[in-house]
């Protein structure tokens, strides 16, 4: 199984530990075997250990250590935000966040919606059963 996601300049990674948990950052340069210089539009450029990063499939085209303006422009041009939110990984994270922030009324609404959906599915199943046995 060859590797598909490489640490390289322009690779988008997700922070999976620490203060910036859940942020998407760009690897802007590699310090050494364990650390990278990462940058994101809303944070000061800093170093991060690879153990705190999970690489994604998205890669943007930047030169080594671009300045902030160029970086933001490149992120816009590659449309990273939309690509991430439409990817299955990104969508799952959004759903997780939504579920964690529900209040009781939302959970009640979800319960009703689930019951309704199950009712519709059962109706269709009953129809199919009648066709095969009848």
């Amino acid at each position: 199984m060859p590797f598909k996601r490489y640490v390289e300049i322009g690779r988008i990674a997700l922070v999976n530990y620490g203060k910036d948990y859940g942020k998407l950052v760009v690897i802007v340069d590699v310090i050494d075997q364990n650390r990278a210089l990462v940058d994101a539009p809303d944070m000061v450029r800093g170093q991060m250990n690879f153990k705190r990063l999970t690489l994604t499939d998205i890669k943007i085209d930047i030169k080594r250590v671009p300045n902030k303006k160029t970086l933001v422009a490149a992120l816009e041009a590659a449309d990273v935000k939309n690509k991430w939110e439409s990817s299955s990984w990104g969508r799952k994270l959004i759903v997780q966040k939504k579920r964690a922030s529900l209040n009781d009324f939302d959970r009640f609404k979800i319960m009703l919606a689930k019951i309704k959906k199950a009712g519709v599915v059962r109706q269709e199943l009953a129809k199919l059963k009648k066709e095969t046995t009848g």
Partner: protein, 177 residues
């Protein structure tokens, strides 16, 4: 990023006497964990170089030196003198880091691990930022590649906070990226 070793600039001189109204002022840049240690280190080194002690000298200034560009990666060369079990040796080491304090911390931990040399047996002679062309060590030169690319081979999955850590897991971890 909090660093253990801070860089201080310490300025001091011997006390003025009848024979020497204006003694020479000496300045040193050194690394210590705090100001008190820095002052102590200053007198230690000054004693070895000049005929002056803390009891007949005075501290004029002590300031912490901060990194000017902590967002750029630099190659640091550190010249040091250390005491091994058999004698004193000089060494030159290179580190890639964003700040000099970080590089010094790397040096201390590396000397402790590779040579079993403790912090008090190491004297930093000189430090410098080295341009990429003049780096001598392969381990720093291998990162001087603008198109650097490598995969992360073993990816241990960690719980995102230490609170979610458990001693036992239901299944074996998947280490592939």
């Amino acid at each position: 990023m909090s660093y253990k070793y801070h860089q201080f600039q310490v300025v001091g001189r011997g006390l003025p006497t009848e024979t020497d109204e204006q003694p020479k002022i000496y300045r040193m840049k050194l690394w210590a964990t705090n100001e008190v240690r820095a002052k102590s280190k200053f007198w230690y080194y000054l004693r070895k170089l000049k005929k002056v002690k803390k009891s007949n000298g005075q501290m004029l200034a002590i300031n912490e030196i901060f990194e000017k560009n902590p967002t750029t990666i630099k190659n640091y060369g550190i010249w040091l003198r250390y005491q091994s079990r058999t004698g004193y040796h000089n060494m030159y080491k290179e580190y890639r880091d964003t700040t000099l304090n970080g590089a010094i911390e790397q040096m201390y931990t590396e000397m402790a691990s590779r040579h079993r040399v403790r912090h008090h047996c190491i004297q930093v002679i000189k430090t410098a930022t080295i341009p990429a062309k003049l780096c001598k060590r392969e381990s720093t030169k291998q990162f001087h590649n603008s198109k650097i690319k490598f995969p992360l081979v073993f990816k241990k999955v960690r719980p995102p906070t230490r609170k979610l850590k458990t001693t036992y897991k239901a299944s074996r971890p998947n280490l592939f990226v």
